[in-house]
């Protein structure tokens, strides 16, 4: 409660962004862990990546941390990389999902258990 109160009374800073990022990350993880639909899992992945992106942007922002404390454009640059990678990953993942559907007539990831030990 102290933390919550503290957050609400303080001006918006890095910590707030980090909380948003953590929430997004947690949502993504929960989405990945619970969805049986492969597309849902892909969405969860996007959430996780973007949660991380929020953190990167926040750490790299001169407005939030002061010009002398930042590390320049690095945070935004890394976020850009993550976005590009996410797009590429989505393309590959969708192709996998399509092939999976062609073979099994569904995209239920629970049925993809052939690598069971």
């Amino acid at each position: 409660m102290y933390l919550l109160g503290h957050l609400l009374t303080e001006p918006v800073g890095v910590v707030h962004y980090m909380i948003v990022g953590a929430v997004l990350f947690t949502c993504g993880v929960v989405c990945m862990a619970t969805k049986r639909n492969a597309l849902g899992i892909l969405m969860g992945i996007e959430l996780v990546l973007n949660g991380a992106n929020v953190n990167l942007i926040a750490f790299g922002s001169p407005y939030l941390r002061g010009a002398e404390a930042t590390i320049g454009l690095d945070g935004q640059l890394m976020a850009m990389f993550v976005i590009v990678l996410a797009a590429a990953e989505a393309a590959v993942a969708l192709a996998i999902a399509l092939n999976f559907y062609n073979n099994f007539g569904s995209i239920d990831v629970d049925r993809a258990n052939q690598l069971k030990g």
Binding site: V29, T34, R36
Partner: protein, 777 residues
Amino acid sequence: MNPAATLPAVLAIAWLLPLAAFAVVWIGYSLPQLAGRRPGATAQRFAGWLATSAIGSSFALSMFALVVWLAYHPLGGDEHGGHGAPPSYSGDYYLLAQFGELRLSIGYYIDALTVAMFAMVTLISTCVHVYSMGYMDEELHEVADHEVATSDGNYLHRPGRYHRFYQYLSLFSFSMLGIVLAGNLAMVFVFWELVGICSYFLIGFYYERPSASTAANKAFIVNRIGDFGMLIGLMALWTSLGTLQFGDTQLTARTSAGHVKMVVPIEQGIFSKLRSEDQHYHLDASAMVRSAETDESAHPGYWLLFVAGLGIFSGCVGKSAQFPLHTWLPDAMAGPTPVSALVHSATMVAAGVYLVGRCYPIFVPEALLVVAVVGAVTLALGASIAITAFDIKHVLAYSTISQLGYMMLALGLGGWVAGLFHLVTHAFFKSLLFLCSGSVIHAVHSNDLRHMGGLRHKMPWTAYTMLAGCLAIIGAGVPIWGIGFSGYFSKDAVIEQAWSFAGANPSPTYQLLLYVPIAGAFATACYMFRLWYMTFVGEPGHPHRFENAHESPPSMVGPLVVLAVFAIGVGWHTPFMSDLSVTSILEQARPAGTQATTSGTLLTELTLPDEHLSHEPEIADPASQSAFFAALLGVLLATMIYVWRWLHADEIRQSFAPIYKLLSNAWWFNELYQWTFVRPTLALSRLFASIDRWVIDPLVNGLARLFAYAAKLLDRVVDRGVVDSSFDALAHGTWDVGLALRRLQTGRLRQYMVFLVVGTLGLFAIASLCWKYALAG
């Protein structure tokens, strides 16, 4: 022409030609045969021609050398002086090796004896080569050996070995000439052994026959016994004198820079060391002892010379088949007959006599007495056994032993020329007799005298040449006119010397050395005519064999005629050149200082008379007449038994049964040696073999088994128990861990997600805890 340069060169070529023939036949025929390629009959005949032409050329060169020798060294010039050293040339062809003082070289020592021996050996060898072309004819094609049965009951069939026969004959001729030419005792020894090995090859020519291979072994082993003694003699001479060279040799050495020959001091030979010119060629025993501090009264040098002489003589005992090593010679008749003629009658066995003659200056009178006694015993033994033998070749073999005894006796009694003269004449008539017997064997295919008889009508050439040989060996001649066959001169010379010796030594024991050769002359005549009568006179002993008998081809008869001419005439003085005869050539070669009458130092009453004294009429006449009558009696006895049939051989045999048994079993020498030497040796070998088999073998086997057992134990305990099981356990553990971990791989994607999250959280928790403690620590 300089004889000092010409003679060594000519004789060296004559010596090496047979070696070349041997090499060509060996490389061209025997080596391809190893690879399975058999030369055809024509090619084999070519090998025969090759070897024959080689030895024939040797003969021509030897005759040339003889002519050169006679041209430069007129005979009879120095004959009765006897003071100077005989003319001789000695030197080295090639230095093999030098160890300190010991020089081993291929050298030459050429005197009249060498030249005469060269002519004799090459002539007889040529005759035998030619003769063998006819005799060994059947070896050109496949041979059925009727004396060897194979396991399936047939006779042995084998490819002919014509070329091989000639190969060994050539090697033999080379070796024999090597002995004659040799300039030092080491070289003599080398060729001595080569002759021995050739003899081994030739006796064992029909090696499939057990008798032949055994006889070859026997000859070789018995010869080795004598050669051991010879080695001792050589060592005695070498350690005492420091040289084995016969004559004085001019040593030459090349300087390293150019080809200028630098003359270094002359190496003194044995002869000039022992009989120096300063001492008037008297035997100087003190030369044997180098240190001056020895006790002169004990005669150490004299004893050393005695040992050296006996040692060399023991080699000669082996090679010349003297008692007690005579047993190999009769067995050696297992070889082809031409071999018997060349190797075991005329030349190889003569090498021993030759060597005694060559080393004569070394022998002290006591050693010569031993030579004489051994010769006399051998003479009596051989002659007595020959009377009862029925194998034609055995008769001749024992006759050879007996005649070799004559030679040794003569040499031992001081008759240097007499002994070597008998050697030369004997070589001719004995090779003639053997070749005649070969011709007879070729005709009737049997060695047994009882299968022969009456053959003189069938094969007159053989019969009458053999008669010439028989007359020569018994010494037929007319004492009053002084003419006769070659044996008449040589045997008379021996008996004259014995007579002279008996006169000079009145002791009754020494008289035996006179009676034995006279009795031997009687026995010789008896057994030779017994042989001739049984072969050529009387009724055929075996009608079937008689029917098939025929005269031998010209290649066999030719050599017989040549040898018969020599057997008759080799003892004669050449017409119109009364100086030229074998005796005068030999007289020229007589070693310096050995002619004069000498007495023993240890046996003071022993006197060896001057050989020239034996030619005085008061000695020569009775000796010659007694020899003549002894021989005449022998011929008469044989004629009475085998021609006139006044006496019957069977009756005589029965009435003298014990003596007959003794003689027909060759005095039981073979049995004696069998029981005293062969069997104990074999028993000893068997003992050692059984120790080997029953002690050493089990020991080794037991050790091996022990190790095998220990290894098995180690295998069970350590390898299987410890190493294997630990690896197994490791593998099992890994397997189990793998099985356990496999459960984690559920294949459920969402579960993996949870694992990821939980794991990440766990790592965070651990990291933050450890971080705190890490900072604190």
